[in-house]
Symmetry: C2
Subunit: 271 residues, 2 copies
């Protein structure tokens, strides 16, 4: 039976997932759009409920996907176009969304490969964009330190373009991160405008964590002290910093280039 009222308790519960508190308490989040919901399914994310508005879901691919999910036993909530629009975060809703179980990994997941650790990242768009870039360079995941924003915030999920499902998400206090590092964790490379090494000429370890500070403050003294190396992105204009997602991407792609081109950054003026 189709739900036609936004006052329906199930709909109200889904709407609440916009708030961090409700996401934390339930361990769930809300994903919308054909592409993102299919990515969730492909990456074995736990789809708890599929939300379908048949009037809006006109694409054959979308309809078949929803039918297949139902056959596999996924609960399907059929809603009117109006109810769907009330849930939707984006204009022009396509009629498919899902309530998905959050996945979190422990420190033991951080074993090899390329990771980013973010301290107090405030903007969910930045966090989602960083996940998207990490996916592109074959990264493993993100370690969120202390007061970082929620990767399951709708804006972060959307900005990640599906990478929220492909990247491992780890949450740690700074103290736990420092303890993990000292107990034999991966090498940590930090970025700082006062870093002694130009990021282009640095030799990056094979497995590592790239540590980035917050949008406002950059890395704090205790973070800097933990780093095995500090690299600096040169800037020659009037602005004295880059957008956080941009700075992270610039270093991640440099690391990626060094891996696929053994000569990169090796022969420059700063040898």
């Amino acid at each position: 039976m189709q739900i036609t009222s936004s006052a329906n308790p199930k709909i109200k519960e889904i709407r609440k997932l916009r708030e961090r508190k409700a996401r934390q308490e339930s361990g769930l989040f809300y994903v919308e759009g054909l592409r993102h919901v299919m990515e969730a399914s492909q990456q074995q994310a736990g789809i708890e409920t599929l939300v379908v508005a048949p009037e809006l879901l006109t694409s054959a691919v979308g309809r078949e996907f929803a039918a297949a999910q139902a056959r596999q036993g996924v609960p399907v909530l059929e809603v009117s176009a109006e109810v769907f629009a009330g849930l939707a975060l984006k204009e022009g809703p396509v009629g498919l969304a899902a309530v998905v179980r959050q996945r979190w990994w422990g420190a033991e997941a951080v074993q090899g490969g390329l990771w980013a650790a973010l301290d107090a990242v405030a903007d969910p768009g930045n966090l989602g964009t960083i996940l998207r870039t990490l996916d592109a360079v074959g990264g493993e995941g993100v370690i969120l330190l202390d007061h970082s924003t929620d990767p399951y915030d709708p804006t972060a999920v959307r900005a990640s373009m599906g990478a929220v499902f492909t990247q491992k998400l780890v949450k740690m206090s700074f103290d736990a991160f420092a303890a993990w590092k000292q107990a034999g964790g991966l090498p940590v490379v930090g970025t700082s405008d006062r870093g002694p090494q130009d990021y282009h000429y640095h030799t990056y370890p094979e497995a590592m964590v790239l540590l980035m500070g917050s949008e406002r403050q950059g890395l704090q003294p205790q973070h800097l002290a933990l780093c095995d190396a500090l690299v600096r992105i040169p800037m020659q204009g009037q602005c004295d910093s880059l957008n956080l997602a941009v700075a992270t991407a610039v270093v991640l792609y440099e690391i990626y280039n060094h891996r696929r081109d053994p000569q990169a950054g090796q022969l420059g003026g700063e040898r």
Copy 2:
């Protein structure tokens, strides 16, 4: 005399600058925050009116700046904290803002150096972030093609972190851009996921325009046809694209690295 009512016609006019239409008609835009307003002044942007809320403007630097502007003959609008908050786009307003005259350059300004051309960039945050990155790599400015968002949108201004004042802004239709190019304009390098050359191994011209497509669609056939070279940013994850501001930054920093490191991208596997 202090303005204490948001219904004051001058205040209403300033508020209207949030809308693109009002900005277009007046040729003005609104900048807030000590840092951005001082950057405007430093870059000789035409400050038409300074908006000061004395109750909020507590910093000595800010007060001195406002006094110096007034001495130089800049009209100062004194407003109450409440009126200022009604104008403010950001929480925690610092009590200083300005109405500034927009600056636009013609095609003849695009003579040398590094430029970005953006087709139909939709997100003002992306546009502002691209300006900020261009500033960092010593770029000249941005060419906005056809239906691009407004660099004087408050979100773009804020994201640019002052670069909206340091970078030259040029607006052109695609046809005008093509004509300019064919009449001896700078070489144009486009990015495309089907580009034949890996962006890391490409040799970039000294003076050039980096052409980027829109967030949704990338470069269209007519844009691709205009490019002297097409480069591709490799991606190895599930996502098939990068955020526009990230993709632009990754290529801009690669170009920047090639300029300061003559060996960069020269000795790799794709020689």
